[in-house]
């Protein structure tokens, strides 16, 4: 490994202990272990004395149970079984996206109007579909937890999207749609007609709604229209809310952690995300390389395979087959570890200065507090 492409170590305990850090966002592409990482960080921070809430999106059933999350009720629940000797506490909650959306509606409108919105077919599809709503609601919930002010550290897991960037883009997309020009045109056609300067716009408008009406069926457009006009008077625009939360992400005290598996796809996403965060002036605390396979001895793969072949005799003894099998396994491990190291090196070379934390792969699924502790303990021990 050349010295110019080694990432500095991410000092996990320094990150978690610093009381100036109030929000840690764990992001990354789907299937890289964001939820486990978020939960493991939250547990460690709590046991080191922080008052922590972890917002998870879609935890494995048994992990959820071990955190005391038996139902999706959108309320932080205290986690039992943590070591509180340092004075910390841990709360956990699972995001219920539809309920979060419903709550915003109910909170900001009178009963009659809320009912009208909640039963609108377009709203029902929008609030239950995954296309951006989950990301938007995760941000919304983060904003709420922050405003509540009951915790000194909020750790957020992000929705399981294909791309890590969806998390940043979806709220804005939904916000700008709901508050945008298209909606204004749909809901207030009368305002733009009449004057000469608007003639062109008006004919453009007719073309638009005409074509869309034909394509989608006029029912959809009128559902959208009634949904948006009900929403419009209710509160000061979705975009404003989205922008407020976006600002929170840029504020001091917020750090991002990008989680990636040591695979080309996941690291490519991590790379995009790191660049994007820099552009948006959002602070990246570091890269978590999850499920790495450390090399356990300096015996080479070649020597190991040669020895295994030597042991590959007809009718081997139990000792021969045991040693042979494990030597093959070791050779495979060296290959995997070498490939992972190359990938990490490449990331380090294109992102100099981004610190890295390696979480070793666990032999079994992590589904209890001890398992979560083992994840960060092993990482901190390995980083020395």
């Amino acid at each position: 490994m050349s010295t110019d492409s080694v990432s500095p170590d991410l000092e996990l305990d320094a990150l978690l202990d610093d009381r100036a850090n109030r929000i840690i966002v764990c992001c990354g592409s789907g299937g890289v272990g964001k939820t486990t990482t978020a939960a493991a960080f939250a547990l460690r921070a709590a046991e080191r004395g922080r008052d922590v809430v972890v917002l998870t999106i879609d935890p494995a059933r048994r992990l959820a149970q071990s955190l005391g999350l038996n139902e999706l009720d959108n309320t932080p629940r205290p986690v039992e079984g943590i070591d509180g000797s340092a004075g910390g506490r841990l709360h956990a909650m699972m995001l219920d996206m539809k309920r979060t959306f419903d709550e915003i509606v109910v909170e900001h409108s009178d009963a009659g109007r809320a009912e009208q919105i909640l039963s609108n077919p377009f709203y029902r599809s929008l609030s239950a579909s995954f296309a951006g709503t989950q990301e938007y609601m995760a941000m919304e919930k983060l904003g709420q937890l922050h405003a509540q002010g009951d915790w000194d550290l909020i750790i957020v897991d992000t929705p399981p999207s294909r791309s890590a960037l969806d998390f940043l883009d979806a709220p804005n997309r939904l916000g700008s749609f709901l508050d945008g020009r298209f909606i204004k045109i749909l809901t207030a056609p009368a305002k733009v007609g009449g004057f000469g300067a608007f003639k062109l716009l008006t004919s453009g408008f007719g073309l638009v709604t005409g074509a869309l009406g034909k394509l989608l069926g006029s029912g959809l457009l009128s559902d959208v229209q009634s949904f948006v006009s009900a929403l419009d008077t209710m509160f000061g625009g979705f975009r404003q809310r989205a922008e407020a939360t976006y600002k929170l992400l840029q504020a001091k005290g917020t750090s991002f952690v990008v989680v990636a598996a040591p695979e080309p796809d996941a690291l490519r996403e991590a790379s995009f995300f790191a660049r994007r965060l820099a552009e948006e002036k959002m602070p990246l605390a570091g890269l978590v390389l999850n499920r790495v396979h450390p090399r356990l001895t300096d015996l080479t793969a070649e020597r190991s395979l040669a020895a295994a072949e030597q042991l590959d005799v007809p009718n081997p003894t139990s000792a021969q087959s045991l040693a042979g099998g494990l030597l093959r396994l070791h050779a495979e491990r060296v290959e995997v570890s070498r490939r992972e190291a190359r990938l990490a090196e490449r990331f380090a070379a294109s992102h100099p200065g981004i610190s890295m934390l390696r979480l070793p792969a666990q032999a079994e699924d992590v589904h209890d507090l001890d398992g979560l502790r083992a994840v960060t303990d092993a990482a901190v021990a390995a980083a020395g």
Binding site: R61, R62, V208, T297, L322, L329
Partner: protein
């Protein structure tokens, strides 16, 4: 498990649309790519003894716009255009198409309304953006609609009925697949009539027919397996045809049952291990230590995998096992997976 009989018969002989889903991180795109290669590697055929030889042509479709297929086949980023990305010995071809919902919508509007300038107006007002990104379900109809068009497209040349012998879709993840494919129920509440509604009906006819199979890629780990089982239930409830379960990155077992049990519990018999290593001059404490740690990890992993494999067995779908590619995924690796799929009768 696949039996020798079904392997000989080829499990999905009548299927022309293979939808490949799986939880994020399970290798869905890799499996879709190798399935396409396996299908393209089927023997060439003739419709009539004197007719032209027909080598398989397979289309691989990407619907999430991440350029995963280009990466997989080491090609430059793919446009919204069918391009050949691989050939296999015997002459079979794999083509790839990245479906862009916005362009699919414009293409569609143009086909039905000859829009021209109006398309620009739609775009300027954010209507296209609305239809393809925000309006729930419509994006899905466009993506599945374009895919079904490729499935049904007639051949121009003599000797074949369809332009593509098979279409493989690198589909959205398991958690979203039923919703994604079940476009009918998704848009029926929204677009109650009009071309999108009709399109959804036409798409549903293809997706629920015997020429479609939805395969689920999983690892032998708790969460992907649970998602696979849930996904199968949801697909069946929606009347969508469940295909096979593709177990990816299965570990070879290198220890006997007794050794596994011991290694997972109290740990491997170090004296026995040292004896075995002595014969090859490697009985150093550092090597014995490292191999003992590996043995325990391996044993726990294998026992967990066996447990997960058993729970997959309950759902009555054929299971195919794909080896772990330790060298990383490249064309050599994809061909290895394709061969494994063919040997087990999946293609």
């Amino acid at each position: 498990m696949t039996t020798a009989d079904s392997a000989a018969a080829k499990d999905w002989a009548g299927v022309r649309l293979h939808v490949v889903t799986g939880k994020g991180g399970t290798g869905k795109t890799t499996v879709a790519g190798s399935l396409a290669l396996a299908l393209a590697g089927r023997p060439a055929s003739r419709r009539r003894a004197s007719g032209p030889v027909r080598t398989p042509r397979v289309l691989l479709v990407e619907v999430e716009g991440r350029q995963g297929l280009a990466q997989l086949f080491d090609a430059p980023p793919l446009p919204y255009e069918e391009r050949r990305v691989a050939t296999v010995p015997g002459g079979g071809e794999v083509w790839a198409l990245v479906i862009d919902p916005e362009q699919a919508l414009l293409e569609y509007l143009d086909m039905f309304y000859k829009l021209g300038a109006a398309a620009k107006a739609l775009k300027r007002f954010g209507a296209i953006d609305f239809a393809t990104t925000v309006a729930p379900g419509i994006r899905d109809v466009l993506l599945t609609g374009k895919t079904c068009e490729a499935v049904r497209r007639r051949a121009q040349e003599e000797g074949r009925t369809f332009h593509y012998d098979a279409v493989v879709m690198d589909a959205p993840p398991t958690g979203r697949i039923t919703r994604f494919l079940n476009v009918n129920s998704e848009v029926s509440g929204l677009a109650r009539m009009g071309p999108i509604h009709n399109q959804a009906d036409a798409v549903m006819r293809v997706l629920t027919s015997a020429q479609t199979a939805v395969h689920l890629v999983t690892l032998l780990e708790e969460m992907p397996v649970q998602e696979t089982l849930d996904g199968i239930k949801e697909l069946r409830a929606a009347g969508l045809p469940v295909g096979g379960i593709m177990v990816n990155q299965a570990h070879d077992v290198v220890l006997s049952d007794a050794q596994l049990k011991r290694a997972a519990g109290e740990g491997v018999d170090r004296a026995e291990l040292a004896t075995g290593l002595e014969a090859v001059g490697l009985d150093r404490p550092s090597v014995v230590d490292a191999l003992a740690v590996l043995a325990t990890e391996h044993a726990r992993r294998v026992l967990l995998e066996q447990e997960q494999r058993e729970s997959l067995g309950d759902c009555e779908a054929p299971i195919y096992e794909l080896p772990l590619l330790t060298e990383g995924v490249d064309r050599v690796g994809l061909d290895r997976l394709a061969a494994a799929l063919r040997d087990q009768g999946a293609a």
